[in-house]
Amino acid sequence: MNSKVTRLALLPLAIIAIGAASGCGEAGGGGEAGDGSSLTIYSGRDEEYVGPLIERFKQQNPGSEVEVRYGDSAELAATIREEGEKTPAGVFFSQDAGALGALQEAKLLKELPSSILDRVPSAFRSAQGDWVGTSGRVRVLGYDSRALAPSELPKSVFDLTEPRWKGKVGWAPANASFQSFVTAMRLSEGEAKTKEWLEQMKANGTRSYEKNGIIRDAIADGEIEVGLINHYYILEAIKEGEADGDTYPVKLHFFPDGDVGTLINVAGVGIPEASKQQKAAEQFASFLLADPQQRYFAKETGEYPLVKGIAQDPSLPPLSSIKQPQLDLSDLSDLQGTQELLQETGVL
């Protein structure tokens, strides 16, 4: 009987010991050295989209050990912050500029070399040089081309409050991209005007959906005429074979003249101040901004390449033709006020 207890008591010790041994192995393999031989990536971007790119990076650096922790961008940013000096993250690959902006504000990112920063236009990188955008997405108005001619489309996102659009607009208030857009509106147009817009949109019977993709399908089903979404959702539907590009009823409308409705947000990378893998991290950032990978974004994820001279998907207007609102993307980290506003107006 006594031995049974001893055995029971020893079990957790044994587990910890085994784990410690395996933990040692990992620490030895992943944590060491700035010789470019290993890299730990914290990725807020989905494995489906960036997994193939990371495979390619491994192939190009055969001796290196590359590991990826996938998660939510903001939660990974919070983790890097809690880890502080000891962070195992060599590089942070974020889904949006906001999470990178937050780490920059906490002074937890290293300044990137100009050879990396200069690959993209200044609007798509940190003003301080702490992070760089790697691909872009544009907020657009998806519309039902069977119901609407291009000439009937609104000139500004503010026109969607008109009676013409009553009950015909879809949005996704809980979606992060939508909230970034509202944040941009607060920054560029002011709190009062944004609040008024939200209230009028709500009064105009704007329909709430869970996600961008569902808005797209609701337009395709004729349930609504227009919806506020990211541009690549249309390409995704066409690519998944639901329709070919010409017959798919949902088309994209880019609000003209720098309207805040066409916010361009980016996914990007930053190197933690405490990164022990700076060389490999810089290699990874350069890799993402090299021509073949920029073409990958254009072709495989339907996003906008940010490096000059790389063409976007042929069905999209070039990035240079889209006039974007005047904004520092790092400032989009201020989402708190946006969510309070969405709740105050009863939109969320």
Binding site: M1, N2, K4, V5, T6, L8, A9, L11, P12, I15, I16, I18, G19, A20, S22, G23, C24, E26, A27, G30, T40, D46, E47, E48, E67, V68, R69, Y70, G71, D72, A74, E75, A77, A78, T79, R81, E82, E83, G84, K86, T87, P88, G98, A99, A102, E105, A106, A174, Q179, K211, G213, I214, S333, D334, L335, Q336, T338, Q339, Q343, L348
Partner: protein, 530 residues
């Protein structure tokens, strides 16, 4: 015997009434490990007290806290209303197919509440299946408080059912017979004899349910109930305000303290063990008579809503998505990892719970309340707070274990431990302290007493606790995302990845696999009972 029931002879000189120093030491060690989240909150708040105050004094904090507390209490209440009759029917009556109903009544536990919430919205929400079926323009909104209330009740009530059913089955029929013999009516017996004996089980179960509702994030956000936990998540996710989040989480600790105090009042100062010689007879089943079929109808209705329908929807979606690509290799690896992680967490938690349960049962008082607070905090705080706390403390204290399997297991134990403690403690309070006295009086060491008396008599409770931890740990997501070894995919992680990239429906197959691998845990809980 000359010694009184609650004073045990102890050789070492130092003892807290009925508890040996070794038990005390072990309980202290467990509490110290479980204190990680509270220590972290303290460090963060003290680091920037001004920002913390600012977050707390913001408009609406109190209102939000009260809303969340109201949800927690409402869910605890309705879960009890649902669970007690079910426990009686499956535990004490001659209900037909009783064993089958018992298993069905516990199975909702295997459905993660975030999946349950999503299924609920797809069925009853705007543009949902019911609306299509009825062909109506609009249904009453299921979002907000009522939706969260219903969903959380449906997928947590077995946490009340299990301890209450166990307690009912352990009741000593001699007490009821005596009451009947004194001419009391059936109702009076139920009120004055049975109910008081069930109070600790109900209190413990309702507390677990309420704390779950308080800390839940997934279900309430899908159901768009603006809860306190959601605000904490938003503080991290959208304003990157760790101090504000920590301050709000600190308030949750105070709420936890309040709820624990209420619960321990219910449990304290009563004895629940048999005093006379011999052991209790088995209880006899109460005949239902003409209530037989209505009772079956009640059990069937609960099973239909809380388990059969959700599973049917998952199967429907799975069949639809088979046409797409399912990475079966990834799902299989994830299933293996999930089983390993949840299994280890269950074993470690069952052992860690033993001294804490012993302390709580034998020496309820200020010390055991502090231990309770510390060991419950990981369960009651939002997952993201606990995960970041373990990140913060883990990487500084034991960097060598950081993001390794043992640390993930430990994190799971911190999150799930109260489930094991509650189950074990309810077994301990029914052991007469005289048994330990007798064992110790015969000159055995403390370890030997634990081995010959403690563990054998609490084995059923420990096993139930381990099973509950297994079922809870296998569903856990935030801790795994941030703390697991890189590349260590679990089923909830796969469900999250698949459903976040496009539609929830594409996560149906891993979700179904999750339900299937969790089934053995349910078998451990109830399958072996008659």
């Amino acid at each position: 015997m000359a010694t009184s029931a609650n004073r045990l002879p102890v050789t070492g000189g130092f003892a807290l009434r009925g508890v040996s120093p070794l038990t005390l030491l072990a309980a202290g060690l467990v509490a110290a490990v479980c204190a990680v989240p509270i220590v972290y909150l303290f460090i963060v708040i003290v680091g920037e007290p001004a920002a913390a105050w600012q977050a707390i004094w913001r408009q609406g904090t109190l209102r939000l806290l009260l809303r969340s507390l109201a949800l927690a209490l409402a869910v605890g209440f309705t879960a009890t209303l649902l669970a007690v009759p079910l426990a009686w029917l499956t535990g004490r009556s001659d209900l037909p197919w009783r064993r089958g109903w018992t298993v069905l009544a516990v199975l909702p536990l295997v459905i993660p509440s975030y999946i349950g919430a999503y299924l609920f919205v797809s069925a009853f929400g705007p543009r949902g299946e019911l609306q299509k079926l009825l062909g109506v323009e609009q249904l009453p909104s299921i979002y907000g408080f009522s939706g969260a209330w219903i969903v959380l009740t449906l997928f947590t009530f077995p946490l009340v059912l299990l301890p209450v059913r166990a307690a009912m089955r352990r009741l000593d029929p001699a007490l009821e017979d005596a009451a009947h013999g004194m001419g009391r009516s059936q109702f009076e017996v139920a009120r004055s004899v049975i109910l008081p004996q069930l109070t600790p089980a109900i209190g413990a179960g309702a507390l677990l349910v309420s704390l779950y509702a308080l800390s839940d994030f997934g279900a309430v956000s899908i159901l768009r109930f603006e809860s306190f936990t959601q605000v904490i998540y938003q503080s991290y996710r959208s304003s990157f305000d760790r101090t504000g989040a920590a301050a709000l989480a600190g308030l949750l600790v105070l709420v936890l303290l309040l709820l624990l105090t209420v619960e321990s009042r219910v449990r304290r100062r009563r004895s629940y063990h048999r005093v006379g010689p011999g052991s209790a007879r088995k209880t006899a089943d109460v005949p239902l008579g003409r209530w037989r079929w209505p009772a079956v109808g009640f059990c069937a209705a609960v099973a239909l809503i809380s388990f059969v329908l959700p599973v049917a929807m998952l199967i429907f979606w799975s069949v639809q998505s088979v046409a797409g690509e399912v990475d079966w290799g990834q799902v299989a690896t994830a299933a293996g990892n999930s089983l390993l992680l949840a299994g280890l967490a269950a074993v470690v938690a069952a052992i860690a719970a033993l001294p804490v349960a012993w302390l709580g049962a034998r020496a309820p008082g200020r010390l055991s309340r502090v231990v309770d607070l510390l060991t419950t905090s990981g369960y009651a705080l939002p997952g993201i707070v606990v995960a970041l706390a373990i990140v913060f403390v883990g990487i500084r204290l034991v960097p060598i274990l950081y993001q390794s399997l043992p640390m993930t297991v430990l994190a799971m134990v911190i999150v799930c431990l109260p489930l094991a403690i509650t189950a074990t403690r309810s077994a301990v309070i029914q052991i007469p302290p005289r048994l330990e006295e007798a064992a110790r009086g015969s000159g055995r060491s403390q370890l030997a007493v634990m081995a010959t008396v403690g563990i054998p008599l609490t084995r059923a409770g420990m096993l139930a606790g381990a099973a509950l931890v297994f079922v809870a740990a296998i569903k856990e997501l935030p801790v795994v995302v941030l703390l697991s070894p890189i590349g260590f995919d679990t089923l909830p992680l796969v469900i999250w990845q698949q459903s976040s990239r496009s539609f929830f429906e594409s996560g149906a197959i891993p979700a179904l696999v999750l339900l299937m691998v969790t089934a053995p845990g349910i078998w451990l809980l109830v399958g072996r009972q008659r």
